[in-house]
Amino acid sequence: MCGVFFFLLVFPWFGLDIGGTLVKLVYFEPKDITAEEEEEEVENLKSIRKYLTSNVAYGSTGIRDVHLELKDLTLCGRKGNLHFIRFPTHDMPAFIQMGSEKHFSSLHTTLCATGGGAYKFEQDFRTVGDLQLCKLDELDCLIKGVLYIDSVGFNGDSECYYFENPTDSEKCQKLPFNLENPYPLLLVNIGSGVSILAVYSKDNYKRVTGTSFGNMMSKEKRESVSKEDLARATLITITNNIGSIARMCALNENINRVVFVGNFLRINTISMRLLAYALDYWSKGQLKALFLEHEGYFGAVGAFLELLNSA
């Protein structure tokens, strides 16, 4: 796609997904930098690369999900690693401020961004950071991201998996699933809210429904009931709810594979196993719940891919 023109695409390569709660950032770290290149590399760029790759936490809220890092990818003729970073959306102004202080705009890179925040913060990027955002549709990005990451795999392992015996903590097993012929599939993205897409091919999909009842978080505490009990009850209620709406959509669309993505599922085995169980049980084995290792990052990956595409 970019072939011989790869040199036109200047580093750094980013993909940004600015959601309602979290910002997801994908960063490609080139590993094939030659000595000359290293010398030519402007100071700004070098400092960004070093800052991102030598830390696992940024400020008090930014985190690099080291375990998700994809190693030795070849993209547009360059070899390198893909890093996955997240921070809360309310720190977005600080992020833009930092970009401005580090003269990010002098790098002449295009910043590809998706998610609602791409619209909401566009003005701030321009005025504070002197940066022009390339805004991308979030559903397009989501699907592209899923298909790409699944195709490259997870450092030799399968990106997609499912649970066998989800209710039995002894026998429960996480097993790889081959998503080579993915269509049709129901893609359930659980972020702040929930979006459900029926995907029939790479660029044929429709939004079946959406719900505002997603990753509800409440700070309320009660003495009489333990926090743990409340948290668990809330988690189970919401998960079951999402499961039943996803199931109904799958039935209505006549699709039997349901892929759950989104940061609601991050380190949330309880929900994943519950979804796996509920889908299987209520559909009498007709529906299969599938999960992806890179849970919430597909939008950002999609945005990142668009950057490469634009070259």
Binding site: K120, T211, E220
Partner: protein, 746 residues
Amino acid sequence: MAERGGRGTSSGGDSSLDKSITLPPDEIFRNLENAKCFAIDIGGSLTKLAYYSTVQHKVARVRSFDHSGKSQEKDHHSNMPSPYEIQFQRDHSCDVHFIKFENTYIKPGVVPTIQRPIERRKDVMTCLIKGCNFVLKNIPHEVFAYQKDSDTEFRFQTNHPNIFPYLLVNIGSGVSIVKVETGDKFEWIGGSSIGGGTFWGLGALLTKTKKFDELLQLASKGQHTNVDMLVKDVYGGAYQTLGLSGNLIASSFGKSATADKEFSKDDMAKSLLHMISNDIGQLACLYAKLHNLHKIYFGGFFIRGHPVTMRTITYSINFFSKGEVQALFLRHEGYLGAIGAFLKGAEQDNPNEYSWGENYAGSSGLMSPSPDLCPMQRARSGTFDMFEMDRLERPLVNLPLLKDPSTYIPDTVDLTDDAMARKYWLTCFEEALDGVVKRAMASQPDSIDAAERAEKFRQKYWNKLQTLRQQPFAYGTLTVRSLLDTREHCLNEFSFPDPYSKVKQKENGIALKCFPSVIESLDSLGWEERQFALVKGLLAGNVFDWGAKAVSEVLESEPQFGFEEAKEKLQGIENHSVASCLCEGPPHKCALIFADNSGIDIILGVFPFVRELLSRGSEVILACNSGPALNDVTYSESLIVTERIAAMDPIIQSALMEERLLLVQTGSSSPCLDLSRLDKGLALLVRERKTDLVIIEGMGRAIHTNYYAALQCESLKLAVIKNSWLADRLGGKIFSVIFKYEVPLK
């Protein structure tokens, strides 16, 4: 106060239990001492009690005198022989009472002594569906759509002859979704654990408010946008590509996750209500879509008529189904389980073989649960809701000649919609109340407690009118008919079954005396003149309506006001050539006539017309009310009157003998007419005789109702406008005539 209910609810009559139930005044548990069969359902928060009772009440019976004529009593004032005698007798009828109240009225000790008849979930569901089918079939204006932002929040639906299939979404603690296909075929197709209990539970945790209704009150004051993350919070505006509005909730409670501030209880309650309603709405839509259903009835304690809940659910259904599915609510949703349980228990009485009617006097109606909205109603009945149904002795069916039973609406003006008309009519009924009270007392001069009962009647009806002023939707669509019927029900409740019995008796006597001379003068006219005179007579007869204030005043003050004077009053009769076109063609096979008033109306107006039809070779079915209403002629009165006329007139005589003139009852006791609820016998006869002409007479039957009724055959609607406001509105003068002759398009 306490003993009465205590006797009924505790099985053993244990006196210590009597004390532990505090019941409100007598009027709540009417006829409890005659209760035949009980059902009680003590739920988590509400107790529902149902009982079937045989009610003893007074009826006015008319009986023909011996034909010797010797025993005929004389009217004291006019020295006129009465055509028949009236006797007040005790009679039995059946009605069912449903009472719903909060458990605070029951102290803990009592509950174990009362057996809960409903145990298993399947039974609960069976009862619910049975109850739902029953109200959908029997109770007019049971179903409504809720539209907060329109002038009329409640859009009552016409009872469709075919109620199936539908989806019932019962929102109790959790949610049950049931597909109902026929009277006994239904299936639990889904549910959710996120329901009223979730709202209550999470709401209590969030706001520390323990009471359900208080939570809803908080919710109705709150702003969910302070707590919810909206599309515009994420995008900074609308999400153009998906066409999502900026005000759409992107994430319920989403703002509280990251904002470090205190949220107001009101806002959190509102957000929670939205979250749960939207969720249920979305799920319900998905099920409706999957099963190809277009009607969803919502019930359960979560709804309980709360406007804020109905609003969010309706919004959610419209949003998710893009208008393909309709969210509907029931006026009596809180009673469905109790009605179903009761029907199950009363199967030996074959409740499904009867028709039932809502008794407006004994039912508290749909009311806003918010005490600020109707303080008066609340103060009167506390937290008790009542629903009373009368068992009608004969089944009611559609008139087979209705053009489209599914779109037929009896009432001409919807007073819930038309605020001006509503104000006028409510005031009109208020002003007429004194007269009705006086008339009621006068109808029972020998009764010692008549004055006291009449006063109670006044209070009750006055209160109903005040309730309707504040909540016009309380008993379904408010109409002139429902105002009239409510008055009849209230009169009956206080044992004034027929306040006009004496008036009718007297007027029938006078009119019968005039009959021969009226016939003689008609017979002397040529054909064309006679047709005109007949129609004029029909209309002049209809002036004699005690229900119209303008007329009753004349009748009270001018005792000599008669048939000829009435003819003089008529306005706009001159160019009614239509009269002859009705009679010009070949004779009709059979005419069905719905008669209006006793006396001059039926005897000097309708009968000469009937006689003309009979002479032309048509058959005539004369339909009169089964029970009394105002001075309308009843079926039993019509039997006697016809007998007396037959004795004077050979044409009527032979038609009766040859069964070419048939008298039937309508099944109704209303001054108006609902053609979708008519006596089955009438419907059978209409079909059997191949009726091809329907004549509807009088303001109540042809103007307040049926003015727009479309029939499959020729029809004539005629009346005299005896109300100046209505005349004004229709662009005419008082005593203008309405003569609407319609021939259906082939």
